[in-house]
Amino acid sequence: MKVIKIDKTEWTKGLDALRGDYRLFGPVKEKEYCNFKELAKGESPELDMPNTRLSPKSLVFPQSEAMMAYSLAPGEDQNICKEVPKDYSPRAILGIRPCDAKAMVLVHMNFDNGDYQDPYWLNLYNASTFVGQACDKPCGTCFCTSAGSGPYNEQGLDVLLSDQGDHYLAKVLTEKGQKLMAAAGWKSEADGQALAGKKTAAETAITSQVSTDRLKSLDTMELHGADFWEDISFSCINCGTCTFVCPTCWCFDIQDEVYGKRGVRTRNWDSCMFPIFSVHTTGHNPRGTKLQRLRQRFMHKLKYFVDKYDQGIMCVGCGRCVQQCPVNIDIRKVCETMNSLDSEKFCAVQQGK
C-alpha cells in the first residue's frame, strides 16, 4: 500500500479535519502517566512517550460498560432486558503502539469465537480506525519481537506512522486507513524506503527476549504439575494489576445494578487473580489458592491459548505487567521457566536468575 508523508506542520490541521468524521482518541498525559483518552477539541495526542500506563484495551472494552437496561416497575416491560443506546460512530485511535494493536487481534479471537459474537466489543472495534505509531525507542522491558509482534508490526493497524523528525511517514495498510488519510487531507505520497532502516534499527534496539519454542510441544499436565509454581507464586499478592494493565487480558464479570425501579446489567473487567472469579455458590473454589490462580494466568497466556488457537502466546511483549507488578513477578522469567521445563528443570529459579 501507499506511503504518505505528513509534515508535522500539517499534523494538527489534519487532526482538525478528521474531527468532522471521527471521534479522536489518543495518549494524553495526566498527572504522571499517559493514558488513552478522547481528545478534546484542539488537543493533540502525546506521541512522544514510552507507552501508555494502561493499555488501550479500554477503548473497545471499557472497564465498566452498560450491556442492557430494564424496568422493575409493574407494566408491560417489567423485567424485560433491553439493549441500551450506544455510540458506534467512527473513531480514530491515534498513536496506538504496534504491540497493543496486535493484542486487539488476539483478543478478537475471543470475542468472535465462531459460535458467538460479542456485539459490544466488536461494534467498538469495527468502529475504530487504528493509526499506530512505530516504536523507535523501545523500553528495556519490551520483548515484542519475541512475542509475535514488533516495533513496526502492522497486524491490527490501519495506518502505521513513523516519526522522521520533521515529518511522519504514514504507511497506509487498509481501506479504513485509506479513508482516514483522505478525511485528514494527508495525501502527499512518498517512497517508504526510510521505513525499512528504521524498522531494523528499532528491532535491534529491543534487548529483552523470551523463548516460546517448546511451549506447544510440552505436556499441559506436566507444566501444570511442575513444582516451580510455588516459587513463582510466593511473592504474588493476588491483586489484579497484571491483568488490568494487560492488553490481552479480556476476562469480565456481569453485574446487575438497581436504582429504584430501574436497573442496568453491566460488565466490569474481572481478573483470574481474584478468588471470587471462580468460586462456586457452594463455596467450593476450583482455584482457591494463589498458586492455582497465578498458574491459571500464566498457563492461559503461555500454554492453553497457544494450544487452542495456534497463534503463538497470548502476550505481545508490551512489558506493562513487568513494570507494574508490585512484587516484581516477571512474565519473561516465568515464560523461560515454563519453556525450559525438564531440560533445565529448576536451574533458573534456584539460582534466582
Binding site: 424485560i80 432486558c81 439493549e83 459474537q117 469480565f252 456481569i254 472469579f277
Partner: protein, 281 residues
C-alpha cells in the same frame, strides 16, 4: 449482529415443588414471543442462563426435553442470590432465559448404542431430558438397552416421582432407583449409595455401551472406578461438569479447565477429555 447476552422474555407458567425440603422447584416457562421458542432449539444436555432483572443470571441445565413442545422446564436448587429470588417468584411473573448454551450429550455418537445413565441428587435434570428424549417413540428404536441408576438422599428428595413410577413400569428402560437411607417401611426400591448400586445393577460395558454420569463431585469420584470395573472405557464415560459461569458463551474466561471452557466446549466431556485437563472444576 445478534446480541447473545440478551435473554428471551419468558413467563413462569407453573412451579412444582419437587423435594420435601422445598429447596428444589421445577419452573415451567413459556416464551412471550413464539418465535423465540424456535430460536431456542436445544438438545438434551444443554443448559441456559436464567436471567432475573436486578439480580443476575444463573446457568441451569435444561430439564425439559426437545420432544416436549410449547414450554421449557428447569429444576432449580435454592442456593445463591439469583436462585433464592427465583424461588420466591410466582406463576405469571416475567423473567428471561438465555440459550440454549453449551454442547449436549453426544447424541450422534450414542445412536445404536446401549446407554447407562447414572445420576445423583438434583443433577438429574438433564438426565431426565435425555430419558424423555430417548423414550420418545420416534427415538426409542435408535438406542439399544437403556439403564438408569438414580439416587437421592431419601425418597423425599427424588425428582420427577410420577415419571419415575411410569418408567419403572416400562420394559424398554431398566430403572434402578436408590436412596442413601430411608425409614419408610414400604420403600420397595434400593437402599445404598449410587456407586455400589451401579456396581450391582448396571450392565457390563463394552464398545457398544456408553455411560452418562451426572451428579455431585463425590458421587462422580466413586462411580468412576465402578464403571471402569464394569468395562466402560474412559472415552465411553460421559460427564457433565459445572463451574462458575457468567457469559455462558465462552468469553468471560472464568470456567476454563485448561484450554477447554466448560460453558462453550462443555459442559459435557468424556472422561478421557477431562483426564487431559487440570480438572479445575
Amino acid at each position: 449482529m445478534e446480541n447473545p447476552y440478551l435473554p428471551y422474555p419468558v413467563r413462569i407458567d407453573d412451579i412444582i415443588v419437587e423435594s420435601e425440603d422445598r429447596n428444589l422447584k421445577t419452573f415451567k416457562f413459556v416464551f412471550l414471543n413464539p418465535e423465540d421458542e424456535k430460536k431456542f432449539a436445544y438438545r438434551a444436555g444443554q443448559f441456559a442462563e436464567l436471567s432475573i432483572a436486578g439480580k443476575g443470571e444463573i446457568p441451569i441445565g435444561i430439564a425439559s426435553s426437545p420432544v416436549e413442545k410449547g414450554f421449557i422446564k428447569f429444576t432449580v436448587n435454592k442456593a445463591g442470590v439469583v436462585t433464592s429470588h427465583l424461588h420466591n417468584m410466582q406463576v405469571g411473573d416475567v423473567m428471561g432465559v438465555r440459550g440454549p448454551l453449551g454442547n449436549s450429550y453426544p447424541w450422534n455418537m450414542l445412536e445404536g448404542k446401549n446407554v447407562l445413565i447414572v445420576g445423583g441428587g438434583f443433577a438429574f435434570t438433564t438426565l431426565r431430558s435425555s430419558i424423555i428424549y430417548m423414550l420418545d417413540p420416534a427415538n426409542r428404536p435408535k438406542f439399544g438397552d437403556i439403564s438408569v441408576v438414580y439416587g437421592a438422599r431419601n425418597p423425599g428428595m427424588l425428582l420427577y416421582k410420577d415419571e419415575l413410577v411410569e418408567w419403572e413400569k416400562r420394559d424398554d428402560i431398566h430403572m434402578h432407583i436408590t436412596v442413601d437411607g430411608t425409614d419408610d417401611p414400604d420403600w420397595k426400591y434400593n437402599v445404598g449409595f449410587v456407586p455400589p448400586i451401579t456396581e450391582q445393577k448396571a450392565p457390563q460395558g463394552d464398545e457398544n455401551s456408553f455411560a452418562i454420569v451426572c451428579g455431585p463431585p463425590i458421587m462422580i469420584k466413586f462411580t468412576q472406578p465402578v464403571l471402569e470395573k464394569l468395562g466402560y472405557d474412559h472415552d465411553h464415560i460421559i460427564l457433565s461438569l459445572e463451574n462458575r459461569m457468567k457469559c455462558g458463551i465462552g468469553m468471560c474466561g472464568r470456567c476454563g479447565i485448561g484450554r477447554e471452557l466448560v460453558c462453550k466446549d462443555g459442559p459435557v466431556f468424556t472422561l478421557k477429555q477431562i483426564n487431559q485437563t487440570p480438572r479445575e472444576y
